[in-house]
């Protein structure tokens, strides 16, 4: 099929439907006309209105209006990239390349990747930041309002340059019946770039298609725009905060925008230089990435030095939104604000130290590789901190399953899978197998789809009343959110699995045995597309038809004391404009208790260090008692012969020591006295069970399943039953030992404190 016409047709159809919807709703929302023909005055009036609107939007420097422009632009780019994705998935319905040629397929994923990563995500987040960051920090506007507008207006030409190939190609197809070939060679030569979003040299240098040059120029322009935006955000946060906004109470979204901008400030200029170098290589015979000069690997270093921070540039604002929105629907303040800020800073720093994990199979020096592996594994720690804090925020709260909450929870769920698969990729031997397969595609889509657009949509729902003064269709929104999560999970876990079986990515043609899985992924992708369309419909239609917001506190945030600055601004405006009275919550309860004692097993008395050391001692004591009790059960199992002692050797092997049962047993003891008790202490309050020993039993049962799997040596029948039974009972003994010791020690402690 003719790719260019299909794509432009789809985009045109989409644009036309949205426009039609907009106009119809707008007319029906206005005062009723008498049904006659529109009068001349009416048309004149309309045109006049249009002109002044256009003038205003073209020249505005107001941070909120520029923000809206950014958001609209990003949405258009996202839909465009989404249409690419739908076309990609459609091609993959069948193993051969029968809908589009392989070259067209290559062009589709190239432009899909570039459009999504560069023109969709950051513009939307810059838009959200533009609108809300000044409100959140109490600034009147961004620090440089004109630079702000300039940064935005550089983006549309950048996108058009980057994707000019599509229009030029359509132009060629329309012109070719009329004009002789010779005169329209320009239109017949350019087509969308097909070298992958990574633009690896020497392929990108050797490719004849001149659209590569336009793409590079467009990317450079967008890089300039991004750098300007980043400087603006940093200066705004540094210098324009209201007096009472300090570093210690700066809201979490602004923190994330600040760190993101810091990353962009250093990453994008480097990409800009690298792009110019590629342009010179293509056109002027320089040797930056030629074999006799810097070599093809240099491009990869420079590209990923930008590319890896870039993915965190996209990711951090989404986590900022999550940390902002989640607590509002849980009725509890964000847990561990300080640690989330630290983890954000940590991610920012670390993200510049892991780029070569994209190059593990290029044959770079093993020592270098190993250190990048270490850094890439370490980067999971700050992400884990975020995840655990989000979960703890939800714990003991009052959850309202509104659309923004559903999306936030879905984001956490998909991010865990996306993140953990990232750790697998960071492990070099595993990456040797998975690099360049759909496993990687699955990994990053679970994040770039699974948290980034999720949180954008969640934010659009959360702030919709503030943005428009109206409500969207809330039932539809909930349905749409569930649909989106469902579609993404189906699509991208399927890709993860076929990647695990070895299917390479970026292939228009694939072996027939993967067809069924591919089709599942495609159907899932269509579901995502449907969910996207529902969202679009909902926000466009509700702009005119939604119920007007009646309260100045539409989410009832005052009830938990989370009525943040931007809502305060909204309230002021509503009061001024519509004479609403400020909302009064029916009842108030605190969302945060700075003086309170943590309910956790760790007891919040004394300094942190003291707590930690005391708990370590307690954990060791409990763990030791538990392990001794447990050994009885396991020993019996070994005696009866249902448990193979040699399997202890495997523990030793697991950590890379010689496979001796003795070392294994020693390690087992260490694990039993140190690791598991600490885990138990950390999670004890989240496990079901009222009394401590009940909790201990639950914990023991949980970890016994891991043991059962790990030490399974092929028993069957009665031996298997005996094996499982003994293991579980032994673990119960462990759990009891652990919890009873804790109970005892804690009671003694308390008694001592009361005496002293």
């Amino acid at each position: 099929m003719n790719r260019a016409l299909v794509e432009v047709g789809a985009l045109g159809l989409l644009a036309a439907s949205v426009l039609l919807l907009w106009l119809r709703l707008r007319r029906s929302a206005g005062p009723q006309s008498d049904g006659g023909y529109p009068t001349r005055e009416r048309i004149r009036f309309e045109l006049e209105h249009l002109r002044s609107q256009l003038g205003r939007w073209l020249t505005t420097t107001d941070h909120r209006e520029v923000g809206i422009l950014y958001i609209v632009f990003g949405t258009v780019a996202g839909l465009w990239g989404g249409v690419d994705a739908m076309m990609l998935r459609t091609e993959l319905l069948t193993p051969p390349a029968d809908i589009w040629t392989p070259e067209t397929y290559n062009a589709l994923f190239t432009t899909h990747g570039i459009t999504m990563l560069i023109f969709f995500v950051l513009p939307v987040f810059f838009g959200v930041g533009n609108y809300f960051l000044p409100l959140l920090i109490g600034a009147d506007d961004m620090a440089f309002p004109r630079v702000n507008a300039l940064g935005f207006w550089l983006l549309p030409p950048a996108l058009l340059l980057a994707r000019a190939g599509l229009f030029v190609q359509v132009g060629g197809q329309l012109l070719s019946p009329v004009f002789p070939q010779e005169t329209i060679r320009f239109f017949l030569t350019l087509r969308e770039v097909s070298v992958g979003w990574t633009l690896y040299a020497p392929l990108s240098v050797q490719t004849a298609n001149p659209q590569v040059d336009l793409l590079l120029i467009g990317l450079h322009l967008s890089g300039v725009a991004t750098t300007l935006g980043a400087i603006n955000f940093i200066v705004t946060v540094l210098y324009e905060r209201a007096e009472d906004v300090t570093w210690a109470n700066l809201d979490i979204f602004s923190w994330n925008m600040l760190v993101t901008s810091g990353l962009a400030l250093f990453a994008f200029p480097l990409l800009g230089s690298a792009i110019l170098m590629l342009l010179l290589d293509r056109n002027f015979g320089t040797t930056f990435f030629a074999v006799e000069g810097g070599g093809p690997i240099l491009w990869q270093h420079l590209f990923w030095f930008w590319g890896h921070p870039e993915v965190y540039i996209l990711f951090l604002p989404a986590t900022g939104l999550l940390s902002t929105i989640l607590p509002k629907f849980v009725g509890r303040r964000l847990f561990g604000y300080k640690f989330i800020v630290y983890s954000t800073l940590g991610l920012g720093v670390l993200s510049f130290a892991v780029w070569a994990h994209h190059m593990f199979t290029t044959g770079i020096d093993p020592g270098v590789r190993a250190s990048f592996m270490a850094n890439s594994i370490v980067i999971a720690v700050p992400s884990a901190i975020k995840v655990f804090n989000w979960l703890t925020t939800m714990w003991d709260g009052d959850i309202r399953t509104t659309a923004p909450f559903i999306l936030a929870a879905g984001s956490i769920g998909t991010f865990i899978v996306g993140g953990v698969t990232g750790v697998f990729l960071a492990v070099i031997p595993v990456d040797i197998l998975y690099h360049g397969t759909y496993y990687v595609v699955g990994h990053f889509h679970l994040i770039v789809v699974g948290i980034i657009p999720f949180m954008m949509i969640a934010a659009s729902y959360y702030w919709y009343p503030l943005l428009t003064g109206r409500w969207y269709d809330r039932r539809l929104a909930q349905f749409q959110s569930v649909l989106l999560i469902f579609g993404s999970t189906v699509t991208f876990t399927t890709l993860l699995i076929i990647g695990g079986f070895g299917l390479p990515r970026r292939q228009a043609i694939y072996p027939p045995e993967y067809q069924f899985a591919s089709q599942i992924a495609t159907v899932g992708a269509y579901v995502i597309g449907l969910a996207a369309l529902l969202w679009l419909y909902n926000v466009v239609a509700s702009y005119w038809r939604g119920d007007p917001v009646q309260s100045t506190d539409p989410w009832d945030l005052k009830a938990t004391g989370q009525f943040t600055r931007e809502w305060q601004w909204f309230e002021d405006r509503m009061v001024e404009k519509y004479d609403l009275t400020p909302a009064q919550p029916a009842s108030v309860r605190p969302a945060y208790d700075p003086e309170g004692e943590p309910a956790g097993a760790l007891g919040g008395v004394g300094s942190v260090a003291e707590t930690v050391s005391r708990n370590a001692g307690m954990a060791a004591a409990g763990g030791f008692v538990g392990t001794v009790l447990m050994s009885g059960g396991l020993g019996t199992a070994i005696l009866i012969g249902v448990l193979d002692p040699a399997s202890f050797g495997e523990i030793a092997e697991l950590v890379g020591l010689p496979a001796s049962p003795l070392i294994g047993a020693a390690l087992f003891l260490v694990g039993g006295t140190v690791t598991w008790p600490l885990v138990f202490l950390a999670f004890q309050e989240y496990l079901p069970g009222r009394l401590l020993f009940e909790t201990g039993l639950v914990f023991a049962t949980l970890i016994s399943t891991g043991f059962v799997v790990a030490f399974y040596t092929g028993q069957s029948g009665l031996a298997l039953i005996g094996y499982v039974a003994f293991v579980v009972v032994a673990h119960w003994a462990y759990g009891l030992g652990l919890s009873v010791t804790f109970q005892y020690l804690r009671r003694r402690q308390r008694a001592r404190r009361e005496v002293g």
């Binding site: 009147d140 004109r146 340059l161 040059d213 120029i217 200066v235 015979g285 320089t286 006799e292």
Partner: protein, 272 residues
């Protein structure tokens, strides 16, 4: 709600009945369109003059450059000549410092390339005579220009208008002379040494890095020129030196980069 500083930044049109101002300016759009035309023109030129009639890129680049500079000029006029608010000085200085941080990264890519080829067999090709009197003179000129700019700034703060104008003027002039020297060096290399852009691994590093630096100097000269024009019209005073401060930062930065280039690229290529 609107602080006084706010009004200074953007022409404010009061909205009937509301306390909020409506902020508009046409200069960002003009500047953006100019820059975009410049980029599109350059892109079309790269696409190939066999596909695109040469007038098109020429017109786009020329018009774009004009639009860009015109946009900036209008911008400055609106931002600084109409109102001037000094309390925003730290904001502008902060913005410039951040820009320079990003610029470090811009140069970094080039230096990394040089590092990549420098650790290989050296020299990769025959080197042109790098260490001549020209480099020495040019370096001295650039260092001197930093000093004159510093002097001018000091004079401004001391209220010495003539000294200020002289310092600024001489700095601009030295910048132009430096660019001339650079052009002369290129000319010598290309015509006499047949050392051209496509002349191998070292040529790529040499022209890439010095060219990037030359672009920075050019931009610096343009900025100095605009500042000089405004200085002649009396826009600056002891308390009103934000522009001078930011332009100085930029100029000193470019100077430091040059010294680094001389050490690493000129001297570093010949020794060791």
């Amino acid at each position: 709600m609107v602080r006084p500083a706010e009004c200074g930044r953007v022409t404010t049109v009061e909205h009937a009945g509301h306390g909020e101002g409506e902020h508009t300016s046409r200069w960002p759009l003009v500047t953006a369109v100019g820059a975009a035309a410049l980029y599109v023109g350059a892109g079309l030129a790269l696409v190939g003059l066999d596909l695109v009639p040469a007038v098109l890129p020429a017109v786009l680049v020329g018009g774009g450059a004009l639009g860009f500079v015109g946009g900036l000029a209008g911008w400055f006029a609106e931002a600084f000549l109409v109102d001037y608010w000094d309390e925003r000085e730290d904001v502008y200085t902060g913005g410039m410092v951040l820009f320079l941080v990003s610029d470090v990264s811009t140069f970094l890519a080039g230096f990394v390339y040089y590092g990549f080829i420098r650790i290989g067999a050296w020299p990769p090709t025959e080197l042109p005579p790098l260490l001549g009197s020209l480099v020495v003179v040019n370096t001295l000129i650039l260092v001197a220009s930093s000093l004159t700019l510093h002097y001018g700034h000091g004079a401004l703060e001391a209220g010495n208008r003539r000294g200020f104008l002289a310092g600024l003027g001489v700095t601009t002039l030295l910048g132009v002379v430096f660019l001339g020297g650079q052009a002369l060096e290129y000319y010598e290399f290309v015509t006499h040494e047949h050392f051209t852009l496509a002349g191998g691994a070292f040529a790529t590093a040499f022209y890439g890095l010095t060219g990037l630096h030359g672009l920075h100097v050019t931009l610096g000269v343009v900025l100095l020129g605009i500042t000089l024009g405004r200085a002649l019209r009396g826009s600056f005073g002891p308390e009103r030196d934000t522009s001078i401060r930011t332009v100085s930062l930029y100029w000193h930065f470019v100077d430091v980069v040059w010294i680094l280039l001389v050490v690493v690229l000129y001297v570093g290529a010949v020794v060791g």
